[in-house]
Symmetry: C2
Subunit: 188 residues, 2 copies
């Protein structure tokens, strides 16, 4: 049997390089889009291409690793807000932050988009954290009751995508429109 599986400690230089590659990939994909070449990532990380492919056997695997990393950070932010005093503010703060990140980090909105489909386990973590934020905000009356996590995810993806282009005041006003919509129907 192959003995490479299971928690063999991984050599020190290997661990270092793995991290360097991941960070470089994040930076490169954010700056130049997910079509940036693997060689560019390798250069940015200061390692050879072979090393990149050793750690991430496929470009897709590398991308997924970057996505997972980004989504995990978002999930952590969501969890940090989960016990805030004002559930409504917590929910909208989270929403705003995600959109803000997406505006500068190209890879993040892509990750968000995929999170709704591929469901790598970390996408689930984000969904759960978001569901918690949402349901607390709804209990507090800050968000209408007839939307669920899927709808919020869809809106999050949409606004994040839009934020890649629209910036500044336009983005803020568009975001406010969505927020007002989320707060509740204005009808009698």
């Amino acid at each position: 049997m192959t003995q490479s599986r299971a928690g063999r400690p991984l050599r020190a230089d290997a661990m270092r390089n793995r991290l360097k590659v991941l960070e470089a990939a994040e930076a490169v994909f954010d700056a130049r889009g997910t079509t940036a070449s693997t060689e560019e990532v390798a250069r940015a990380a200061g390692v050879g291409i072979g090393t990149v492919f050793r750690h991430f056997p496929t470009k897709e695997a590398l991308l997924e690793a970057v996505y997972v990393s980004g989504l995990r950070k978002l999930a952590e932010e969501a969890e940090a807000l989960a016990s805030a005093d004002d559930p409504g503010a917590a929910f909208f703060t989270f929403f705003t932050r995600v959109v803000g990140h997406a505006a500068t980090k190209n890879a993040l909105s892509a990750a968000l988009t995929e999170a709704g489909v591929d469901v790598p386990e970390t996408g689930q973590g984000l969904k759960q954290a978001l569901a918690a934020l949402l349901s607390r905000a709804q209990d507090a009356g800050a968000v209408r009751g007839d939307v669920g996590p899927p709808e919020v995810m869809a809106l999050l993806v949409g606004v994040s995508r839009a934020a890649e282009r629209a910036q500044g005041e336009v983005r803020d006003r568009a975001l406010n429109v969505v927020f007002d919509g989320l707060r509740g129907s204005h009808r009698t």
Copy 2:
């Protein structure tokens, strides 16, 4: 001087092929994304690659032609709704239709996204038609007054992008959230 400029009538077969290529490009890019190869477009059109490049000297030019075509159709829809009886309904109907198209036509949301940036003249046409729809809806009190065409465009792009993934009821509910937000703030 080169005499190819100005309205030389263009040979009959050339005109036919130009149309075939454009239609095929639209279909292929919608179905398989804008990364589909030019050769695939040529095959779908039933012509040689050389012919495609003769009419559209660059893949970018071909893409732009597809975008312009899609945006013009949208602009026409908007203009058709411009004189409807109910300005509010007209505005929201247009919004819904655009999102509906974007859900199935991959290239359309890309075109919309670019329309806000590259501003090929047809993008302007759409913007003007949209501005007219919006201002009539606002005069009728159906849409809040503090949003302008840029914000609506941003929302249109965002929701269209999201609609590529989220479908069915989720899409409808998310759309309703945005619509409620557009109708007006619920605050005192």
